[in-house]
Symmetry: C2
Subunit: 302 residues, 2 copies
């Protein structure tokens, strides 16, 4: 059975790592948010795609929660000395990805092609599809104006209050994205931020319609009323006007998701089928255990 | 008295460092070869300008003879892992220069402006002028075809035999270059390769005419029949059909240079006024000592 999984950065990437371990080779296709992609130091940076590639390659810094293990920041240090922009930390090893990608894109390759080539070079066996080759940018409409996602999240530390999330650009899925959903026995939505990691994927032409024909299960990114990582709790309050909860996330997706995997205790009152378990992945064994539970739960769903 | 100095990479940069130490602040203008500039990993790299900036900033790795002291090569390592180009070693600290410059050039700045800004940020007091803002590329005509300088020198390790050196592009000096020569009481040609470091500067419109009106002294890059660094000895044999010697270098420049500073013993038979001394700079004290001898010798010249 084929599995497609929609993912943002860290949380989604960790579940993908578990799914890749739990499934036979070739069964998993990851469809990854590119709404936060941006150009920094003249380089094309694709934060969620890189997090997924690095996590599946076993190169991610698990303790810090972003970037590469053993990373150094010498180019950043020297950039500061030259008076350059230093609000976004690109590491030295990581730079190779952005440099190689930027050159390849300038040479006419697509983001999908480049991602496949680099994932292969790093020994990743799962198929990783950026959601789109054409730019579709997540813009945060705030009290202080419209900001690019990284501008808002990293440079402004998610401080300006969010009024709305918008997507600017072409809503065209990358080659293979719709087919991967159509061919999947189960589609998994990872524990990623629904507003800025999953909604960009859902906004692509044809994705919602394709998902409506499939069995979709999701893992809650809210555990015991708190976001495992990132600004989701605050976004639920400002965008949905609700108390952060697995329930609020489930309400956001509505009938698109057939079954929910949530933290024990978070299933109470959930108007969908649910599997309650330990939903936070603390190590690689935990990822595989959670992935296996997600797949078994999906199988039990009618 | 103002001094202008023409320079390529390491040898020229070391003499510049000595001249900067020997002269009052503001007296020295370095005019630096940009014929070897090239694009690598999508970044604009200016090897001689960078060597001069780093050397004058006290950041150059003196033992290795190129790049920055304490440099690391993590981006290069990761680029190899991705299957990218690794024949030219860009270090992590050094990358900041190329990234910042490439972005600034893309934003409409000139190479001169960017160089001035970075030299200032690194605390360099001498004025550093790239010879040209427009591209003028040194091409090596070899038995195996026409190669870019770095392609020939680094990638092919200077192996293909050289038939001729050509300059492709606009022969337009950067703003300030001709004026710096016109205002100089002495022009110093550093111990750089005449064919690929100094000739590109001499090929610019107006430079030879401006130099003909000034007192020009040069330091020989050939010492006891050998090049201190690089492929000059072989180039003298293949391009001039002569045995490598200070004499052969002096014959190349002809009447343009009024006086020569050479290694003791190399002055015999030289058909120009000469100052014989220890011409190899082994440390920073040596640079200053040689620079002071060059300036005193120039003063003695009629």
């Amino acid at each position: 059975m084929k599995v497609a999984a929609l993912s943002g950065g860290v949380g989604g990437a960790r579940l993908l790592d578990g799914l890749a371990a739990a499934l036979p080779p070739g069964a998993l296709t990851a469809i990854v948010n590119t709404g936060d992609d941006f150009v920094h130091w003249g380089l094309y940076v694709s934060p969620d795609v890189d997090t997924v590639v690095y996590t599946l390659a076993g190169l991610a810094d698990e303790a810090r929660g972003w970037g590469l293990t053993g990373e150094t920041f010498h180019a950043l240090e020297a950039t500061k000395r030259l008076g350059g922009e230093s609000w976004f930390a690109l590491g030295d090893y990581d730079l190779a990805m952005h440099l190689s990608r930027t050159s390849a894109l300038a040479g006419g390759a697509t983001l999908s092609q480049v991602t496949a080539r680099f994932a292969d070079a790093l020994g990743v066996r799962a198929r990783i599809l950026p959601m789109a080759d054409a730019p579709l940018r997540t813009m945060i409409d705030t009290d202080e104006g419209l900001l690019g996602f990284q501008e808002w999240f990293v440079r402004r530390r998610a401080q300006p209050a969010v009024r709305a999330v918008r997507f600017a650009g072409a809503a065209v899925a990358a080659p293979g994205v719709l087919a991967a959903i159509d061919e999947a026995g189960v589609v998994v939505i990872g524990p990623s931020n629904p507003y800025v990691s999953i909604d960009p994927i859902l906004s692509l032409d044809g994705v919602r319609a394709a998902l409506a024909r499939r069995k979709v299960v999701a893992v809650s990114p809210i555990v015991g009323g708190r976001a495992v990582k990132g600004p989701l709790a605050e976004m639920i309050q400002s965008l949905a006007g609700r108390t952060p909860s697995a329930h609020a996330v489930a309400a956001h997706y509505g009938a698109l998701v057939r079954g929910w995997v949530v933290e024990r205790g978070d299933e109470a009152g959930l108007p969908f089928e649910a599997h309650a378990t330990a939903a936070v992945m603390r190590d690689r064994a935990d990822r595989r255990r959670l992935a296996e539970e997600v797949l078994a739960f999906a199988e039990r769903l009618a």
